[in-house]
Subunit: 123 residues, 2 copies
């Protein structure tokens, strides 16, 4: 019988509706939130890139060790699209997602967690 | 009856097993492939960040307009974790995914496409 290794990556997909539009359009606040989220996930930040769109909206990517956290916001719809992808048993992507939901004052979150990179071994 | 708007984002999740390990460990080649994939997706590149890990593996993030393409590779397992997230009716994330599968010489791809940011309107 084949055995299954731990997945290489854990990917938490957050579709966040009814967030605070002011926070969603504040690039400095968004950067602060994602940086803190990486810390809560117990992930090591390698790089960060954030962009403000005209007339509104923010995109950000935090590259952590062999993983990432990304966000795209639509303040006009109160919506944020967030992905928290981490590797390793010491990381806690769902906990980071919980923090992001609270920080964006989201009243209608949807969360899906998927395993990425499932390897089989011969026992 | 409520109507449904087009989704704000289209997210293609690719778990790519049995790829060419040499390509997966070649940071320049991976950057070339993701840049070309953004072009095929018809997305506008804003920023790019790539990192090589020791002893092996590459991570990359291409930030495109209000979206992103990311990759994390495990050459030792022949595995790559790829996400192509794009916005707008003019973008073609699945086509970009198809290109990445071929470029990594992947023999065992899994592909899932999900809609992100589904808004309801009152008709």
């Amino acid at each position: 019988m084949m055995g299954v290794e731990n997945p290489l990556g854990m990917h938490v997909i957050l579709d966040l509706y009814e967030c605070d539009p002011k926070i969603l359009d504040d690039i400095e606040k968004i950067e602060e939130i994602l940086t803190k989220a990486a810390e809560i996930a117990n992930a090591t930040v390698i790089d960060k890139r954030f962009h403000k769109f005209s007339p509104q909206g923010v995109s950000g990517a935090v590259v952590v060790s062999e993983s990432h956290i990304t966000i795209h916001t639509w303040p006009e719809h109160g919506y944020a699209s967030v992905d928290v992808y981490t590797c390793g048993d010491h990381t806690m992507p769902v906990k980071a997602g919980e923090y992001i939901i609270k920080a964006l004052k989201c009243k209608n979150p949807t969360v899906v967690k998927i395993d990425r990179g499932i390897l089989f071994r011969k026992d």
